[in-house]
Assembly symmetry: D2
Homo-oligomer: 359 residues x 4
């Protein structure tokens, strides 16, 4: 099924990013959720919250349960979350006496949010690598053509000559800033969620802080030192960053489109897009797509901010809204970096206009 | 792959609508595009624009070509549209002398937009049926409990008693209006696109009007009497309607949530959502989801309006942006109707508060 | 104070529309609210709901009360609506025995919504006249230059020659459609609100329908035949229309900008915008502004759809949200029509490119 | 004129923030622009870029020119920016030989952006003080009632008891984070813009860096070390922060609304909003307004991100779009802090539910 253009069989190399999309597959999600339960059992046994027998039984059940996706789907439609049914499936392989030890002290939001954190960490690495590559591509372009003179344009009119380097800097500077800020932004979504039914870890008594700290370490995540069940600013910061990323790259795309207008012809692209009616045309397809992705994320960021109005100790409405928006922002952001690199690789020449501009 | 929660293996019965999602599958899309080419060849042969030999050869090629999805994906990343490669695959089964007769006079946007129209028509029927059912459900509820007194509330405070019928009317009246307006709105997206490379059907000469009219009839679509390559208001009207639909249903969802607050307890739901930490809870999951879907479409509608700025005779950026937004709006709109029906079916009682309200 | 660029002392001729902005002044708002109370008293006296003595006393109080804006502001911050304090000010000139006859059966939302309806009616007339003028301007342009050949462009690349008329039709066709649909859309906001505290006109007993019908007639508005306290689709339809209007005009603006690129030079504008650093430049300022206004309304329309989730019998949150958004959409929509007319009047020539395109 | 509810004569104490709104008045804007020109002349004379005679003459002209707002309005409609006409008015008091020394090397965007920076700095101080106060208010509330038990609620259903402190922390923690991050965010908009016609300070030769550094110091702004004509991420970061602020406070507002439902009655407010039809009601008006402001800014943030697609060396369309959006975001953000403080001051009691929750 292909409601989303971002993971659509024939559109996904135009609009998506396969590697990053994988992190939003059910397989990766369930693997991460099972990893959460395993780590929780391990740490709770260490802290004497559950018995080591319980831990061992849980490990075995997590290794051997039969995943029933249809069952998950049916139950999720009823429960609003996948977790109760997933645990029920695991418990089928777990002796009754250990049932209460599984997922002890945790709530559905803990495991779902943590699964997201684990996968955003991995997606972030891919995006960071791509972005570093894009910045290098731009530096290479600058070394190649940076001292060419082009015509600076303001308000869509010819203004004064500028070195191409100045235009290229206007593309790469925001990206360098975004890359350097990503260290902070990534951390905001690399955070364990473990807070229990109402955010107070009420079942863990005095072990609460210790279990949470060790669980975070076990999962290679940061310890939130409390609940972020309703404080969704980490995810919103990530969404802001993604939209600033695709927005900044959208400027690059728009510029290349404008430079490739036939009469302007400041850039020579190879391998432009073909047309079914006019085979001679060379359309600056990837430039256009960069603008589409920028506008798509600029729209989506609004929904993430709407979801900040998160009532009481857990808002089903706002939380569910995030699920519909954030994954597509991550993939669109990643795609815009990848498409930009492809676009730059198509640039054959940006001719020196010194003679023309000195007219 | 499951970037979109709307067609996600375990979320889709919570947030999606399987039947409607099918219309956005690649299979349905390609089937519709092939139908376009077939109808075009048929009509153009009738009008003497292409030969009957060409038509027969085209029919045979369309029946026998080997669909290569990987090829489509690779080419779409380059061309920005699937059509040139799809035609190339068809032409492999077509004698060279007939190549120019295939897709004669048409452009990629003609076939892609028309494929969308064909599928939106079918999705509309499903949505209309569901919406009619939802309105009937509300009428049934009104017959059952409509004369019960409940407490009218304004600005979240108890105001004065009202008959439940008044509240139910505030749910069903917007839906009745939307259903009655759908006749017009549906027509706006049941329109053939056939305008050629730059919107003037320049290759068809004096046959242009006739071919277009007959092609529309052949495909059971309306004749646009011109190009809508850049006039995207039909799609925007459809998007508006979808967001008004999920928004109006979001009000219903929010009301049911408020009525199900434990202390208020104006509605008794069965089969509410379970919780992993607190199995006793009955969460009004579908009510919450209705609010999420409403906010999701209210966000998306903005992107469709942004895409109205559609430069020149075809804007790659704006057109591509539609592809990322409209399908998910259709599925979210359809899902909100379906989820509302499920929610209403969970209502066991809305007790008469006459004694309480007359305190 | 000038938080809004649309009624800013030096930006308003660039971004606003003075005549339409006037309808959102406090003066016009209060005049409309007083007209509502007068009409209500008149009709209720006719129907025997209040005495003719009460009516006469109310008329006199409405003529003679001392408007205290500071008092309104202080009270509105407390009450969330201006009405209780406005009525208190009127009651200072009204004998105590008639106090209960003033505003009898009405609620704050009735008078505030109706005041908006009255003013949107008047704004609609101005917009309709301007839009009719814009369409005529385009027809005149078409008569002047329509048979010139220009270069059709798709995906930002030269495609095939088209007659300018085709491009101009792509500007005027959506506007003609919008004008023709405006008859329906205008009616949706030309509707009386009169429904009482919880939407049931509970205080008017059997006279309710009659009073509402006569009140509508008295105010030259349509009778809603019920409450639209929570059914805000009329306002949303108006917002959709405004954003489709500025969006369609944004396309025109974007096209003119592209045509005025120096190397392209398909359009000759006089009186372009000056620059502080480069006095020789002629910036296509109004074209750019048309794009800004389009994107502004495309953003705002999202907020109006968010406000559809309107809980219970009156949602303070959603209703207040409309107040922040709709006025600026109306003025931005009106401004885009006005600016487009000004832009067209700057067009000196769109040269015939026949020789160039036949190269 | 009152298109904007945020500076509307009777709505502004409900929805606006007078002190912060002042920074967007024409007076403050022009004062800041004149300060820019004065500082520029001072620094350029120091650096020998203009003569000291020119500087003195410019100082005198800036002190004595006759501001003609009507002239500014008319010219801005033509030029798209106020600067050329403002300079023309100043030049009326300046000997012809010094005309070229005024505004030397600068462009309209330099002065307009810098004026905005200067005023955002001042607005930031007010917001920071208010936000600090709000956090203190919450701490005081926590000291007063923090150990009371209330009922934790998830997905709108009673879950488990929590100390009120936990709920209050969920309100104040995001605000504390936002306050601590504001140090960085404020700096991003406390930046001089001085880059010349196309962003390269081409007229200043070797003095460019030095003049820019000194000009920044003179105006108490940071030196951008280059142009941010097209890199608008500083403003977007500020917009993100404002929307996260009003969004986080919207959660507080929504919670108070839910706690004040009659049957729930977890909070006792004094001085709630009155109703024209039901004088006995106490509406949680400020709670509702907090939700409206949150949704308003969540919508607006989308437009700021759309404006990131900023083509070439200056985009009239994107830049102008910022003018319509950012001021209202600043005022709405500031208003949400102020309104939250007022709301908290209305809280008379949040009773201990220990007995009830232990049922």
């Amino acid at each position: 099924m292909t409601v989303s253009a971002l993971d659509h069989p024939y559109l996904k190399d135009l609009l998506g990013h396969d590697e990053v999309a994988t992190f939003f597959s059910v397989e990766e999600d369930i693997t991460a959720m099972i990893a959460f339960e395993r780590a929780l059992a391990k740490v709770e046994a260490e802290e004497g919250v559950i018995s080591t027998d319980a831990r061992d039984a849980i490990f075995q059940a997590l290794d051997n349960y039969s995943l029933d996706i249809t069952g998950l789907r049916v139950a999720t439609a009823r429960d609003g979350v996948v977790v109760p049914e997933l645990l029920r499936q695991v418990k089928e392989k777990l002796a009754l006496k250990f049932h209460s030890a599984l997922h002890f002290g945790a709530t559905s939001q803990d495991i779902i949010d943590t699964s997201l954190s684990l996968r955003l960490c991995r997606a972030s690495k891919v995006i960071e690598t791509d972005l570093t590559g894009l910045i290098e591509d731009l530096e290479q372009l600058s070394r190649k053509f940076g001292d060419h003179q082009i015509i600076g344009r303001t308000r869509m009119q010819r203004a004064l000559p500028i070195p191409l380097k100045h235009r290229l800097d206007s593309w790469s500077n925001p990206l360098k800033e975004l890359l350097s800020q990503f260290t902070v932004v990534r951390k905001k979504v690399s955070v364990l969620q473990f807070a229990g039914a109402v955010g107070t870890l009420e079942n863990l008594g005095e072990s609460a802080e210790q279990v949470r700290a060790k669980l975070a370490a076990e999962l290679n995540l940061l310890d939130s030192k409390g609940s972020w069940h309703t404080n969704r600013r980490g995810l919103v910061s990530f969404a802001n960053w993604l939209s600033e990323l695709s927005g900044s790259i959208g400027k690059l795309g728009q510029d290349v489109i404008q430079m490739s207008i036939n009469e302007v012809h400041e850039v020579y692209l190879n391998g432009g897009g073909g047309s079914s009616a006019m085979p001679h045309k060379q359309n600056p397809v990837r430039g256009e797509v960069l603008v589409s992705l920028a506008r798509f994320n600029a729209m989506n960021v609004s929904g993430m901010h709407q979801a900040l109005v998160h009532e009481n100790e857990r808002s089903g409405s706002s939380w569910t809204l995030e699920w519909m928006i954030l994954p597509q922002m991550v993939v669109a952001g990643a795609a815009s970096v990848r498409r930009a690199r492809e676009l730059l690789s198509q640039i054959e020449d940006i001719p020196d206009m010194t003679e023309i501009v000195s007219e």
